[in-house]
């Protein structure tokens, strides 16, 4: 399906949109699911949403950086697919990462992207004999989305949803982008079928709910008993496990009310079952995840989401759906700058990322909300873990935002950060969500305040 399909979205009603997604429009998805607290800013009666996107290994900067100035600028070869959304996006040049702390560039870069914080200097990921080295652990801060979730306490079915495409990797910082706090990573779900089932179907109906209620009634006292039994160091783990069971219980009760549940899968998930984790299906999986993100936002199942495309370290997998059989990270991004064949192939990969983000913006903008669209009420922040793959540069990290965060953020801009750290963008996002008392974000922040020129 081409993302270049021209379609007038203005007369595309929410009801039709949801119908096309297979959702029962009468199911009442527009009402806050539970009693919404007043903490979260809303625009035109609709909440603001935040989406954090990661794609690996930076970009080919000279083919990505727009030309011209803020007053008059043109997209470059790689971001050309965003042309139709130029008025609703911002492109940031000269954004740098703080290059501090332990861990290798890809490894620390992925969690750094949205936490602005460094990895812990502990022994979590180390040789275990304690022979005197300095090693690294998990990231030491919450990511932007989780910080805002904890601040705003959205009363939605899911406080946040972590979407991924082959984002499992191993359980270490190079594969974990989102953190609820220091050393508390969340794993992304890379299976769109599982997400659809959990979010939008009454899977198994009343019988399954009754069985899960039985399970929860047994598991809770078992976990309570275990807390007493295990050593004090392990109580936190059992406590965290108990919290997850309580969260499942809460959602079970909410789901029973039948809000925002449909019986039909979106078109892309119908038909023969696909292996969502297969490399050759990654393009397909990406599109399904993008569709599910827009559904989840449209239905107000969640207001905070993230999408992690593969892992921060060594996406040395081919892109067969683009006809590229070499691994992206190795050998392609490790080729020298003068290797034009490698550069052209990387350009194709990076251009595809932009093409898919354009598809996402199509989806978000197709949902009318008040006088605008879902896209207008959303803030999408998209970045990478390095500036470029071969030198592992922490300068010129490609950043793009989309959507106006309900009128809080100006769009259509080409903004130079003048080598400011990306923490400025994270602080700007806090302000866009009403957290205007935040002046720094992350323990590697080296300045204060939002990025000049971004906020309305």
């Amino acid at each position: 399906m081409s993302i270049l399909t021209k379609r007038r979205n203005t007369d595309f009603s929410r009801r039709n949109f949801l119908g096309s997604l297979g959702l029962a429009a009468s199911a009442g998805p527009f009402l806050p699911l539970l009693n919404a607290s007043g903490a979260e800013p809303t625009v035109g009666g609709r909440p603001k949403r935040l989406l954090l996107i990661y794609t690996p290994h930076g970009t080919v900067y000279d083919r990505w950086k727009p030309t011209g100035t803020d007053a008059a600028w043109q997209l470059n070869q790689i971001n050309a697919p965003l042309e139709k959304w130029k008025s609703k996006i911002n492109v940031f040049t000269g954004v740098n990462f703080p290059n501090k702390g332990v861990g290798a560039p890809h490894t620390k870069g992925l969690p750094l992207l949205f936490t602005g914080s460094q990895l812990a200097e502990d022994m979590t990921f180390s040789r275990p004999d304690g022979s005197g080295g300095k090693f690294f652990g998990w990231n030491t801060g919450p990511s932007l989305d989780q910080f805002l979730v904890q601040r705003l306490k959205p009363q939605t079915l899911y406080p946040s949803i972590e979407f991924g495409v082959r984002a499992g990797g191993n359980n270490n910082p190079a594969a974990r982008m989102i953190y609820t706090g220091p050393a508390k990573p969340l794993v992304a779900e890379s299976n769109p079928y599982a997400i659809f089932d959990r979010l939008f179907t009454k899977k198994g109906g009343d019988q399954l709910r009754a069985e899960r209620k039985t399970a929860i009634d047994i598991l809770k006292p078992e976990l309570d008993a275990l807390k007493v039994k295990v050593s004090s160091e392990d109580k936190d783990k059992i406590d965290a496990h108990l919290q997850t069971i309580r969260a499942i219980e809460t959602r079970l009760a909410a789901n029973a009310a039948g809000l925002c549940t449909g019986q039909t899968q979106p078109m892309g998930l119908q038909g023969a079952m696909m292996n969502a984790n297969a490399i050759e299906n990654s393009g397909w999986t990406m599109d399904r995840q993008l569709e599910l993100i827009s559904m989840a936002f449209a239905c107000d199942v969640t207001r905070f989401a993230s999408l992690q495309f593969t892992v921060g370290d060594n996406d040395s997998r081919p892109y067969p759906w683009l006809g590229i059989m070499e691994g992206h990270h190795d050998p392609l991004t490790h080729a020298g700058d003068s290797d034009m064949a490698a550069k052209d192939k990387m350009t194709k990969i990076y251009t595809w990322y932009h093409d898919r983000v354009a598809y996402l913006l199509d989806k978000l903008n197709a949902v009318p909300e008040g006088n605008g669209t879902l896209l207008d009420n959303t803030l999408v922040i998209w970045g990478s873990e390095v500036g470029k793959g071969n030198s592992h540069s922490y300068d010129n990290i490609p950043f793009i935002t989309a959507g106006g965060a309900g009128g809080a953020v100006r769009t259509g801009r080409l903004l130079s950060a003048n080598k400011a750290q990306h923490n400025r963008i994270l602080v700007s996002a806090c302000h866009a969500f009403g957290a205007t008392d935040v002046t720094t974000f992350g323990n590697l922040d080296n300045a204060t305040g939002p990025l000049p020129g971004l906020m309305v």
Binding site: G101, E121, F125, R127, N172, V187, T214, I245, D313, G389
Partner: protein
């Protein structure tokens, strides 16, 4: 910072795989590969400064850091061998001691195997669960806590398993309902299946809760429905998912109770839950006696289930986790098919099992045997080997192959997509097989890998390392080992020429004991040296210990390491003796109440 100099250390960033016992295979190799420190340069980011920037007023998230995590450490030196093992004299007559063992959640493999053993073959794909944590090269879930998603995955997996098991219910749990009645059979189910899943008898409260759950759902769908629901709940119980361990008595260091020992034994030697015989021994309190423990361990090593552990250990130790999904540039290696990859992965586990369980069990054999158990003609062709003999073993060319390190799986995993990789191979051997340290590459290096050249050999292309003073320190060590493997291309095929030039496969080990250190002619010669190296034997014993305990050893475990190592060396490095001895160490049998 990374572009500030022109030094050029080929292929460390992003290319090198598995720098460690910290080696984390597949996609995330770098995380642990870079497990070393911030570079020691005084101009480095941390030079002379505290590591934590003072949070600005108004700083919200992530600041300040937990101070305990941020102690500046000492940058590790290249080639430092791991901590020394105490002498036998120092351990003689010492009171039992043990390092703190954090609560372990089952690994995906353990979960899948346990389900299979309990449900007579019914299990799920490990992919339905989130990936495991690793400490060193070994999978063990001891650090993080479960997220909502992981809990939900457990719930869904358990529901699926219980449903899939129902057609086999009579085989899994035979019960004469005519005699015992449905409620009586349900009671027995809770007792017997509960014992297997919890690895201990259930408490009265636990039984009552399950009986309540059974009654509710049997009322709606009969006996099978009630049993299905409670089986599903048992399989998502924390008492199944975690290795909950209990000590006997009070004090800082206490013996584990018999049931806790039974679980440790089975998850170590079988990567699965205990069987009825082991639970019976636990019920009789027999597992508190080292002699009885040894008898159980010997019995379990003879059981085919032990192969799971042998395969799993060697896959993790040698950093082969990525092999089943490894991609190569098919222009360079058109024969690198999915089938061949699986055969390579299977070969290492089958070989380890054949040597350790069926063969002489010796470490030297693991590093020197020129045989392969493979049944795949494509892999035999890669080795230029003939048909298997009567014992199923294939004889390999003795001048080209010598045990684990010259197997195609190791060579292909630790290689580039279109070339060999002296760096990856060197790093894997130095860190995983010799347990020596390697620091991070210096900041400011350009990690551009030199492209394959139509005229140069890999050795010629990698000579840059030797020229650059900032690289040569480590790379003398790394490349000295890795270039010894230049007789094998990026998928492990033997070659004596590269681009028309004769391959120079000489290397030098600049670290290690007297038997190990020094020049060697090729990888086969290196493997023979390593096969009798005391350092490699010590490293092997430590790695098995870490695998068994699911954690790194501490100084409190020193005498346990000493005991296991003494048994190992005393048996001519027989791995069977190492494994049974590990089960009788303090580290395996005792528990420290708190950190």
């Amino acid at each position: 910072m990374f572009r500030s100099t022109q030094s050029w250390c080929i292929g460390i960033f992003g290319l090198g795989l598995g720098c460690s016992p910290g080696s984390i295979g597949d996609e995330s190799g770098e995380a642990s590969r870079m497990a070393g420190a911030q570079p020691s340069s005084p101009t480095g980011a941390n030079g002379g400064q505290g590591l934590i920037p003072t949070p600005a007023p108004g700083a919200m998230p992530g600041a300040p850091n937990s101070g305990t995590m941020m102690q500046p450490g000492t940058p590790n030196a290249p080639g430092m061998l791991s901590a020394p093992v105490p002498t036998p004299a120092a351990c003689l007559g010492k009171a039992p001691d043990v390092g703190f063992a954090p609560l372990r959640r089952l690994t995906r493999d353990q979960y899948v195997n346990a389900a299979r053993d309990l449900l007579k073959g019914t299990t799920v794909s490990p992919d339905v669960l989130s990936p495991d944590e690793q400490i060193g090269p070994f999978k063990t879930n001891v650090v993080g806590s479960v997220s909502d998603l992981v809990s939900l995955q457990y719930m869904e997996a358990a529901e699926g398993l219980a449903k899939a098991a129902m057609p086999k219910l009579d085989a899994i749990f035979p019960c004469d309902r005519m005699t015992a009645g449905d409620a009586g059979c349900a009671d027995q189910f809770i007792d017997k299946v509960g014992l297997r899943i919890y690895r201990r008898p259930l408490t009265a409260d636990e039984k009552a809760r399950y009986k309540g759950g059974y009654t509710t759902h049997a009322a709606q769908g009969g006996y099978a429905n009630g049993v299905r629901v409670i089986l599903s709940v048992m399989l998502q119980s924390p008492n199944f998912l975690y290795q909950v361990e209990q000590g006997v008595g009070t004090g800082a260091v206490v013996p584990l109770d018999s049931y806790s020992v039974a679980s440790r034994l089975s998850f170590f030697l079988w990567s699965s839950m205990p069987d009825d015989a082991l639970l019976g021994a636990a019920a009789g309190g027999q597992l508190n006696d080292p002699k009885a423990l040894r008898t159980q361990a010997e019995r379990m090593l003879k059981d085919p289930r032990a192969k799971r552990t042998l395969a799993s250990f060697h896959e993790q130790w040698l950093g082969l986790g990525a092999l089943p999904t490894l991609s190569k540039d098919l222009k360079a290696y058109p024969g690198f098919t999915a089938t061949l990859r699986s055969s390579m992965a299977a070969e290492t586990g089958d070989f380890a099992d054949a040597v350790i369980r069926e063969g002489d069990g010796r470490l030297a054999t693991l590093f020197s045997a020129a045989t392969s158990p493979t049944a795949d003609p494509a892999l035999r062709k890669l080795y230029s080997a003939g048909a298997p003999g009567a014992d199923g073993q294939v004889a390999l060319p003795v001048r080209e192959r010598s045990g684990l390190l010259t197997q195609a799986g190791f060579l292909a995993t630790h290689a580039g997509t279109n070339q060999s990789s002296p760096v990856r191979r060197g790093v894997a051997i130095i860190k995983n097989v010799m347990c020596a340290t390697l620091p991070d590459p210096p900041a400011g290096v350009n990690a551009v890998a030199p492209d394959p050249s139509p005229t140069l050999t890999t050795r010629q292309r990698f000579e840059e390392h030797e020229k650059s003073p900032s690289c040569s320190g480590c790379h003398k060590l790394i490349d000295g080992v890795g270039l010894g493997f230049e007789n094998y291309d990026g998928m492990g095929t033997y070659r004596s020429t590269e681009n028309g030039k004769t391959v120079d496969s000489r290397g030098e080990l600049v670290i290690g004991d007297a038997a190990t250190v020094g020049a060697f002619s090729d990888a086969v010669a290196l493997a023979k040296k390593l096969s009798v190296s005391p350092d490699v034997a010590t490293c092997t014993a430590k790695q098995w210990m870490r695998f068994a305990l699911g954690r790194g050893e501490t100084t409190a475990d020193g005498c346990s390491v000493q005991g296991a190592l003494a048994a190992f060396t005393g048996s001519q490095n027989n791995v069977r003796d190492l494994l049974t001895s590990i089960t009788t160490t303090d580290a395996f049998r005792y528990r420290r109440a708190a950190k």
